[in-house]
């Protein structure tokens, strides 16, 4: 079998390769989606950690000003 014959798949190349290609694509997109969601979650944690830090600092300065 030549490489051309392999890609042609008789006359079914279109259907076979689109099936496998789209499956690969949606799986890759899922993992990209996961990575994007993880970034969002970590940003959320970062921002509320910063808030807690600011609150703690402002409590400290209030005490000093008293």
């Amino acid at each position: 079998m030549t490489l051309q014959e392999f890609f042609a798949m008789g006359n079914h190349g279109f259907y076979v390769w689109w099936s496998y290609g789209l499956t690969l694509l949606v799986i890759v997109l899922l993992f990209i989606g996961f990575a994007w969601y993880k970034k969002q979650l970590l940003n959320k944690i970062k921002s509320f950690k910063r808030e807690i830090g600011q609150k703690a600092r402002s409590v400290k300065t209030e005490k000093i000003s008293d």
Binding site: F6, M9, G10, N11, H12, G13, Y15, V16, W18, S19, Y20, L22, T23, V26, I27, L30, F31, F34, Y37, K38, L41, L42, K44, I45, K46, F48, K49
Partner: protein, 249 residues
């Protein structure tokens, strides 16, 4: 006696702990990836190249090696989501609800793969990409059940309410799974009858690669659910000390 019965249930309590799961699953994932990659390499070599061409369908039969595993996982995924829903409602186990939420998008993905590979297989084989028959319609309903579950879950600001309402939808919707499975037997459909494990119904040179691909898809499903579940744990345990120590910001 008491000791042994306690230890036999230990796994259940461990699985119920987000911290335990988060730490352990990080060690499982590389192994799961390694085995899955190996199975996929074998499976794809056979399904795209080394397996025989069907005497009637020609090369389009190669679509079977992803269509059938994806269809199996679309149904198994929904059932496992419903089981998680029951465990969550009955034992009030929060990890179970997290797993339920994690499975939904992955089940939807496998349902989508089932539908478009089915269409791409139907075109050269049946001459049509869609028919409103029992098998195809019930599989489309499955996709809407997954999407409805996700939409319902995200429509509540109160997480407990979201979990419980979505769990009820997951359980009620499970009735669709036996309908999909039985549809080719109960109604006259364009879709062929079940033949995957039936003796003599499918040539062994096709059955072996099909089983390899089914195994690979099961593992891929497990990996996806674990990765998504870890994100769900980050989402829900964001304020706990152990998690903040675990993740590097």
């Amino acid at each position: 006696m008491a000791n042994s019965s306690m230890s036999s249930w230990r796994w259940f309590h461990q699985l119920g702990s987000p911290k335990w799961f988060y730490q352990k699953s990080a060690k499982w994932l590389p192994w799961l990836w390694a085995i899955t990659t190996m199975l996929l390499a074998f499976g794809l070599y056979y399904s795209l190249y080394a397996s025989p061409v069907d005497y009637q369908q020609g090369n389009s039969v190669r679509i079977m090696y992803i269509h059938v595993p994806a269809a199996a996982l679309s149904m198994v995924g929904y059932l496992s989501m419903a089981v998680c829903a029951v465990i969550g409602l009955v034992w009030k186990m929060k990890m179970s609800f997290m797993a339920m939420r994690a499975i939904a998008p992955i089940g939807a993905l496998f349902t989508l793969i089932t539908l478009f590979t089915g269409s791409l297989w139907g075109l050269p084989t049946w001459g049509t990409w869609w028919e409103w028959d029992a098998r195809m319609t019930s599989e489309l309903v499955l996709l809407f059940l997954y999407l409805g579950f996700i939409a319902l879950h995200s429509s509540f600001s109160d997480r407990n309410k979201a979990d419980r309402s979505a769990a009820i939808l997951a359980i009620v919707g499970a009735i669709n799974v036996p309908i999909i499975y039985g549809s080719v037997k109960w109604w006259n459909t364009l879709h062929q009858a079940y033949s995957v494990t039936k003796k003599g119904a499918i040539a062994p040179e096709m059955q072996t690669p099909l089983f390899i691909m089914i195994g690979a898809f099961y593992l891929l499903f497990a990996i996806m659910v674990i990765v998504r579940l870890r994100l769900e744990i980050i989402n829900r345990e964001a304020k706990s000390k152990w998690l903040q120590a675990e993740i590097t910001l």
